[in-house]
Each structure stands twice: as C-alpha cells, then as structure tokens.
C-alpha cells in the first residue's frame, strides 16, 4: 500500500496523523511521570491509562471542540490532552 493509500480512507492529513501520535506519546509520558512522582513521595496518587492511548487519541481527533460535549472518566488523560488540555 502506498503512503497516501494507507491513510486516505481516514481523510487525515499528515499533520493530523502526527498530532495523534503526539497525543499518544504525551499521554504515555505524563502518566509514567505520575507513577514516578508517586514513588518519589511527591504526589499521593496516580492512575494509568497505559494501553488506552490509541482509543483515546482516535476519539479526541473525532471530537469537535466547541461543538461537542465531553464527559470523560479518570483514566482519560490522553483524551483530554487530545481535545486541548495542557500538561
């Protein structure tokens, strides 16, 4: 499959594909950081969505910010990052 064909069916530009990867990587990094900080005694508690990065980044990309309403749960760091929450 050629470069364009693999992703054409999704209608996502290269920029948006990289944005999804960025969301997934930031999700992974921040949650690992949460566990580190907890083990260092700096924060009392952290949860992890390690393994959920794909479903959350995909859903975030489909979400229309300013139009849709999001009701996430505690494991949705990637989803909220994807819709615009900053680290």
């Amino acid at each position: 499959m050629g470069v364009a064909e693999a992703f054409e069916r999704y209608g996502l530009s290269d920029e948006r594909l990289v944005q999804m990867l960025r969301t997934m990587l930031m999700h992974r990094t921040l949650e690992a950081r949460g566990f580190q900080l907890n083990r260092q005694g700096k924060i009392p508690f952290a949860s992890s969505g390690e393994g959920h990065e794909a479903v959350q980044a995909g859903a975030a990309m489909a979400f229309a910010r300013g139009r849709d309403i999001l009701v996430p749960y505690y494991r949705d760091v990637g989803l909220v990052l994807g819709v615009g929450l900053t680290p």
């Binding site: 470069v3 693999a6 992703f7 069916r9 999704y10 996502l12 290269d14 594909l17 990289v18 999804m20 990867l21 960025r22 997934m24 990587l25 930031m26 992974r28 990094t29 921040l30 950081r33 949460g34 566990f35 900080l37 907890n38 083990r39 700096k42 508690f45 952290a46 949860s47 992890s48 969505g49 390690e50 393994g51 959920h52 990065e53 794909a54 479903v55 959350q56 980044a57 995909g58 859903a59 990309m61 489909a62 979400f63 229309a64 139009r67 849709d68 309403i69 999001l70 009701v71 996430p72 749960y73 494991r75 949705d76 989803l79 900053t86 680290p87």
Partner: protein
Amino acid sequence: MLVTFGDGATSEGEWHESLNFAAVHRLPIVFLCENNEWAISTHISMQMAQPDVAKRAAGYGMPGVTINGMDPLACYAAVRDALQRARSGGGPTLVEGKCYRFLSHTTDDDDRTYRPQEEVAERRKDDPVPAFEALLTGHGVLAAKEATALKQSILDEANDATDRAEAVGYAAPASLREHVYGDGYEPWQ
C-alpha cells in the same frame, strides 16, 4: 456528547438505565467503552458473560460497534461516524474499543497479586504507541529524526510542567471552602 467509561462500569445499573433512556429519547450521545479487560482486579470473564460490550447495544435499540482499541485510526473512524450520527439526529451509539491495561489500576494497586505477568508481557506486544510510531515512520509520514525530536519536545514539555507544578506549592487551607456552595451560602459559619 461523548461519554467514556471502562468495562467494569457496564455492570452498574446506572449504565443500563442511561443507555435505555438515551435510546428511547434518541439522545445525541456516543457511549465509548474503553474495554481494557480488567476492572481493578476483576477480569472481564468474571464481569460479564457476553465479552463483547457492543453487542448489548441491540438490547437497547441502538447501534453497537466493536473496534480494535489498539488502532488509533480505527477508533477515530468509529467515533467520528458515531458523533456524526448523534449530531445529525440519528440518536446514540455504543462504541467499544478493545484495549488492555498494561499497568496496575492505580498507584495503590499491585497487579502482581491478581494476574500473571506472562499475560501482561504477551499483551505488551500489542502496545499501540510504538506501533503507531512505526506505522507513521514506515509510511514516510514522519522521518525517524522527526520522531526523535518529537519525543524530546514532549519530554521537555513534561519536565517543564512538572517543574511548574512543584513550584506552585500547596493551596492555603482556607481555600478548601471555595466553590462548594454558591451565592455566599456558608453553613460552616
């Protein structure tokens, strides 16, 4: 509206009530289940007899879609379609993304007490993050050098956020009462 939850939540009465109500009134809601097979220490086989959460949708009279939750593009497409259906008056959808929880439920949990680490290691082969990176670099969407730079910039941003959070310090104890009630109602006085 996009609402998310895990596999464990689908055993709650509230969940069933919500789906039924949404379907009856054709509410514009996408119910996204992030099925990671573990509700803290309860494996999905002990949570439900029907392992495909999305199959329950038919019981409520709404469409149900099961997707590979480790594939971000498939998840994007399914949620996009469901949101479009909701926005155009087509009613609710139940989308189920099958993924896996690689770590313990939280820092207060130790998954070594209830599941074999061999299972986790086996499922780690489906890790969506390196897989998607490899997909993008393999198809030339992102050069290897750019991927490295991207990861460095993410680490820098995470470090900066950590430093700023640590510098802020703790809130004053008096602020505990702020935003609890509105209109100046303070029953503790």
